[in-house]
Every structure is written in C-alpha cells, then in structure tokens.
C-alpha cells in the first residue's frame, strides 16, 4: 500500500512551492488581475518553462522530462495553491494531453517539443454557447481542411498559438489542430469571473485545420482529454482548497471578538472542520484519479469524475466560507479571499460543470453494473 506521494514526488512538490513562493506571490497574481491588458504573467510562464514543468509528463524523445503523471499532479497542486496566472492547464492538461492521446507521430514530433520548451501556448475549444455542446447543436465545421465557426469561451484563446477545436467534418465530429497565427482567425478577449485567467471568443472563417485523431471520434476524444484534464485540474483545486483553509485558520486565530480569538468559537471551528473534511475526501478521490491516469487504468473515467466532483465542491465550499470567515475584510478587493473564490469558479467550469460529471459518473456505475 503506497497511496500517497513518494519521497521523490514530495521533494519535487517542495521545490515547486519554493519556486512559486518567490515567483508567484499575491502581488504577481494581482498584477494580472488589475491590468485588463495583461492576459497572463509572462515572466512566471518563462520561469515555469525553465523549471521543466511544461514537459514534466512529455516523453524524453519529445523533449520532455518523461516523468509520470503523479509528478505533474504534484506540480498542479502547487500551481493551484499559488493561484498561478498562466496558461499552464490549457497548454499541458489539454493540448499536450490531447496530442499524446490522439496525435500522429508527426504531430507529436512537431508540437510536443515546442510545448516542453515553452515556445508554445495551447488551448482547447469545444463550447459555442450557454450549456453543454453536443452532437445536435455543434455548429463549427471543417471542409477541405478549412474551419468555419465560432468558439466561445476559449480559455487562453487570446494568447494561444495552437488550439484544438471540436468540429464536424462531413457530418462526422472530430478534433482539429488550428494555428491561430494563420489566416481566417479573429479573436476577442472577454471579461470573466476570474480575470487572472484569460478567455477569448474565437471566430474561424476558413482557417487551416488539421485533424487530430480519427474522424467521427470528436466527442469521444473530447471526453478522454477531459478525463485526463479533470484529474490534473483536481490537484489545482486541492491546492486552492487547502490554501483557503490555511487563510481562514490564520485569520480566525488572529481576529478577536468579544475578548477572544474567533477561532475559539464553535461556529468557526465547525466551519473549518467541515472544510477540512471536504478537502480530505477530495484529496483521496484525486489521488485515485492520479493513480488511474498514471497507469492508464480502465477506472480512469469514473476516477476522473469522482476527483472532479469532489474537488470542485471542496474548492467552492472552502473559497466561499473563507470569505465568510474573514467577515467584512473578506469582501474587500484588497484581501486575497476573492482570488480563490474566482479561481474556484474558473476551475469548476473550464472542463465542464460538476453536474455534467455527476451524470458521467453514474453512467460509469451503470456500465460497471452491466458488465
């Protein structure tokens, strides 16, 4: 039984925290938050590349470190804790995973080294409007290698170089690689709940598109990529949830009302205990997801769903009750509580809302029963 980070993984995690403590402080996050023209922290992005994190899970043959997914989870946890304002998830959890899952040898050889080297920002575009995109309402389409349609929202779409797009080709849904520097692409940055992560509307009018994976597999591949991303996102959510618990505890210990620290009141103690319980259950589910992702287990779909549901709800609860524990101060822009309140929503929505994953989880349970 070895259901935890190994010593090496803990060392890597510690190094990551040290790096982010220096290079991703609240001041760094707020620089992006308060400057509408900044989509991300370019210095941090460079630094993260230099640390080799972008290629942590990319095979050495493609310029990566060839570490396991668990190591990537450890890094993700620290990025979430630091509320890092960079396109790490879009590039690594979505684009790189999509390429490693469905890319041809040529596509892997062409793009993975660039990702590992930090020379490329990625994005993953499925949504076209409110609600979940599905076979019935998918509008984007490719013909003759040209993509037409509108994708909104596309996380990091305004700064990405390469985007994976879900679109129909001859009536068959597929995934397509599109270089955004090319012709037929217009992008517009959008205002969102979490200004520390950038989102765009991208309009394609005959943009060059190359298929990624088999024709007709668009939705199946999207789900497979989301499964992988969900596990990695869950660790960012865990890092954020634990940080919220720390903030709430530190504030409560130091805040006095009626002659004693508010941390001594049962209402606060039980609130923090509730946060702790949710965080620990989420961590256990996330670890199982990490194991399934790392060994490519058949349990990945249900493990990913459980990890995403548990972590999304833990982070939501921790981030909102952290504000509440801070009282009036927590409602101010100056205090960091809202950074995590915002990020908890960004992470809960970016790979599809928890309710979607609950449905997927139950479908997996039904398959298991049928089997």
């Amino acid at each position: 039984m070895n259901f935890d980070y190994s010593d090496d993984q803990k060392f890597l995690k510690n190094e990551a925290r040290k790096f982010l403590d220096g290079n991703c402080t609240s001041a760094h996050v707020r620089k992006v938050l308060d400057n509408a023209d900044l989509s991300y922290d370019a210095d941090l992005w460079k630094g993260v590349g230099a640390q080799g994190w972008l290629g942590a899970a990319i095979p050495e043959e493609h310029g990566g470190l060839g570490l396991g997914r668990v190591e990537l989870c450890a890094i993700a946890e620290e990025l979430g804790r630091a509320c890092a304002p960079i396109p790490f998830a879009s590039t690594v959890y979505f684009l790189a995973e999509a390429l490693m899952l469905a890319g041809s040898d040529a596509q892997k050889a062409k793009w993975l080294p660039k990702i590992a080297a930090g020379d490329l920002i990625g994005a993953f575009a499925t949504s076209e409007g409110p609600g979940v995109v599905n076979a019935a309402n998918l509008q984007a389409h490719v013909s003759g290698g040209k993509l037409t349609g509108v994708k909104i929202p596309v996380t990091d779409g305004d700064i990405a170089d390469l985007v994976v797009v879900l679109a129909n080709e001859g009536g068959k849904p597929g995934l397509f690689l599109v270089e955004l520097a090319g012709a037929g692409v217009t992008r517009e940055t959008l205002k969102t709940l979490d200004p520390t992560r950038s989102v765009a509307k991208i309009s394609f009018s005959g943009a060059a598109a190359e298929r990624l994976g088999d024709a007709g597999e668009g939705f199946a591949l999207t789900e497979a990529v989301f499964d992988r991303a969900a596990v990695l996102l869950a660790f960012e959510q865990l890092g954020g949830s634990d940080r919220c618990l720390e903030m709430a505890k530190d504030y409560a210990m130091d805040r006095y009302a009626f002659g004693r620290t508010i941390a001594s009141y049962q209402a606060i103690k039980h609130k923090l205990a509730d946060i702790y319980v949710k965080n620990e259950l989420a961590r256990s589910n996330a670890y199982f997801g990490a194991w399934a992702l790392n060994v490519g287990a058949a349990e990945l779909p249900i493990a990913a769903a459980a990890a995403r549901v548990a972590s999304s709800e833990a982070f939501w609860f921790a981030s909102k009750e952290n504000v509440q524990t801070h009282g009036g101060m927590g409602f101010t822009w100056a205090v960091d509580c809202h950074l995590y309140y915002r990020r908890s929503r960004q992470l809960a929505l970016v790979a599809g809302a928890p309710k979607v994953w609950k449905e997927r989880l139950v479908q997996q349970l039904e398959r298991r029963n049928a089997a």
Partner: protein, 404 residues
C-alpha cells in the same frame, strides 16, 4: 386568514395611491446618470414627501411626521414601491441617525437638524463599525480625548454607507480605556465636511464601491455635540441599532423566476435544461424558500396591523435570502457550463445578472450581521437560549487581548 386591508387600511391605501399618482415624479432612466444627479432628484422627491408628511410618517406631527401607525408606514412603502422614484439615500439617516439625535440631543440641536433632515436637505450617516470591531462593535478603538470644552478624535471607521455625500454623522468613540469596553464609549454628532474627516471608498471584491472608510485626524468636536452622557455611548448606540433591521436585508438579485427562464432558454440534447429533474427539485426548494420569506413578511405585517410588535424573527430573512442568492447564482453559472465564466453584460445571459450576484452574495452574507451573528440572535433573543461565555465583561478595555 386573508390578505385584505381593514377598512381603515384600505381607505389609507387609496389616499396614499391618489397622492402618489398626483405627486410621484415621472420615471427617468437613471442608468446613465451620475450619483450627484440622482441624488438631486432624490432630494427633490424627499422634499415633496416631507411637504405632505409622507416621510417619517410614524413620527409626531411636531417633528414633521403624522403620528401614523407602523402598518400605515408599510402600506405607504408598498404603494411607493410601485412607482419608479429615487430611493435609498435617506433610509439610514432618517431610520437610524436622526431618531438617535431626537432621543438624546438638546432642544436647540433638534431644532437645528430634524427638519432639514426630514426635507432631505441634509443627509446623515452612521459611524460605528471599525476594522477591528465588526460583529463586536463595542470593541471599537477610535479615541476621543477631552481638551477644554472640546474633544479631539483620532481613529478610523469602516463600511459607512454614503459617507461621501453625507452632511452629518453620529459617531461612536472610546472615551475611557480603564473600564470594560461597553462602559467606555460616548456618542457625538459630527460635521462630515470638517477637514478632520477624510472619506475613502472601499473597493469590494464585487468590483463596486458601495461603502466607505472614514478617517479622523485630530477632529475637534465641542462637548455640546455629545449625544447622551459620557460613558453612556453604548446605551445610545442600542437605540440606533434597534432600527437597523428595518434598514438592511431583503433579497437583492435574480430569483427562482430568472433562473427558471435561464434553464428554459438553455438547450440540451433532450430539449432544455428545465426538463432536468435535479434542477427542478432545486427550483422547487428555491421557490418554497422565497415564498416562505415573502409570506413571513405578511405575518409580520399582520402583527403590526394588530398593534403587536414583530420580534427579531425578521432576522430569518437575510440568512435565507443571502445564502439562496449565492447558491442560486452558482447553480446558474454551472447551468451555463463553460459559458458561465463570462461576465460581459453584452454576451452573458440576462446581462450577466447571475455572475454579478455571485460576486455580491458573499457581502450580503456579512453586511448588517453575519450568518453566524444572526443565528446567535435567533438563538438568544427568539429562543431564549443563554449567551456564550463572555470573557470581556469585566476587563478594562486596555487589558483586553486583541489581534490584528
């Protein structure tokens, strides 16, 4: 068990409605107006109301009221709410501050201040809360030191609504550090335009700035501005706070009807999101809560109309409405799925109403009493359960442990 006015109430309602139809200003689109412009309209409307005694109605005639009953007051507000008149600038001043002045100031001061406030010519704000004294207001630290006939005041207040447009305020300060915290407080009225007073807006997590910080630097106030005796400030403050519940609360933002519309307009594989049973059960819960609150207000009105005084059960309102707003707003953005992150009012459904209320709801759970304080109030004042252990009752303020 009915919703009808008594004959007297019905007659008064008609009188009110007739007057409003004759006097209420025409609807104007305030969306594009600046606050000073809106304030100008509000002052004009307040003057009109004052002239015919449709403001401060429950006050005695001598003070500008008409000795109306509480239920008559409710009836007026119900009817006025059907008109699109400027609101909100005078509630705290006339609801909390001026009544305190009326209760504790000398005749000369009352002569000077009550009438202009009723006419809306002068606006009052309430200066109690401090960064280190939120739920525990009596723990405030702003100091007033006697200097001849004056008091010299230094310190900071926070969460002051309208401080930037107010003319006067009632200010609670500490005048004695050597006695337990409740015993060392004194109340004054102050001129908000005094150079010793600096007002700074608070930038909220929701982006807006509905409240202010107010700093006092060697502010001199004459002892004649004192309200109540030295050291009796807490008793005075309780008179002010008694009325707070009336001023705060009530759900602000989208409700079950809006999210029902959102669901109906959200396309899914098998129709629209309104057909999802999980959503339908939540919708029923929100409806039952919202209706329950509305109907509880009717029960409160019934008590008023029977000449009874409604208890603190009105504290229920904000606990429920604030938490429902947060839950409902979050369910709405999750319903929009990835699209829910967008706050562009031109793009997001319902002009991003749900995204805005999601960011506002946390403040609603805190302002005017946190969830936790309100539950204490229900437990102690409604259910009669004992207070928590108090370690600060008999300790000199200067010896009390403090944190940030």
């Amino acid at each position: 068990m009915d919703f009808n006015d008594s004959p007297e109430e019905a007659a008064f309602r008609i009188e009110v409605r007739t007057w409003l139809e004759a006097n209420a200003p025409k609807k104007v689109d305030t969306k594009k107006m600046s606050e000073p412009e809106i304030l100008k309209l509000a002052k004009a409307w307040q003057a009109t109301k004052a002239a015919d005694r449709f403001t401060c109605m429950t006050w005695p005639e001598a003070l500008g009221g008409r000795g109306a009953t509480p239920i008559q007051n409710v009836i007026y507000n119900q009817e006025e709410s059907k008109f699109d008149v400027p609101r909100g600038f005078f509630d705290i001043g006339l609801g909390m501050c001026v009544p305190t002045v009326m209760a504790f100031a000398n005749d000369e001061t009352k002569q000077r201040f009550v009438a202009p406030a009723v006419r809306g010519e002068e606006i009052w704000c309430q200066l109690f809360s401090e960064p280190s004294a939120g739920s525990d207001v009596a723990g405030l630290r702003t100091r007033a030191v006697k200097d001849g006939d004056d008091w010299v005041i230094n310190g900071q207040k926070v969460w002051t609504s309208g401080a930037h447009y107010c003319d006067f305020g009632i200010l609670l300060v500490r005048t004695n550090l050597d006695v337990p915290k409740h015993k060392g407080l004194t109340m004054f009225w102050i001129d908000m335009k005094d150079p010793g007073v600096e007002v700074r807006p608070i930038h909220q997590m929701s982006g807006g700035s509905n409240f202010n910080e107010v700093y006092f630097t060697d502010l001199r106030v004459n002892d004649s501005q004192r309200l109540g005796a030295v050291g009796e400030g807490w008793k005075v403050a309780l008179v002010t706070l008694m009325n707070e519940r009336l001023a705060v609360g009530g759900s602000t933002g989208p409700n079950y009807a809006e999210i029902m519309a959102l669901a109906r307009s959200t396309v899914t594989e098998d129709g629209n999101a309104l057909s999802n049973d999980a959503f339908r059960e939540k919708l029923a819960d929100w409806y039952v809560q919202a209706e329950g609150l509305k109907l509880t207000r009717f029960r409160t009105m019934t008590a008023l109309s029977r000449g009874q005084t409604p208890g603190p059960e009105s504290s229920i309102g904000k606990i429920i409405s604030a938490n429902q707003l947060q839950d409902l707003s979050n369910s709405a953005i999750e319903l929009e799925d990835q699209f829910g992150i967008i706050t562009d009012t031109a793009i997001a459904p319902l002009e991003a109403a749900f995204q805005q209320s999601l960011m506002w709801a946390p403040g609603l759970r805190i302002a005017g009493g946190t969830d936790e304080i309100l539950k204490n109030i229900i437990a102690e004042r409604v259910l009669g359960l004992p207070g928590d252990v108090r370690v600060d009752k008999d300790v000199a303020f200067k010896d009390m442990p403090t944190g940030r």
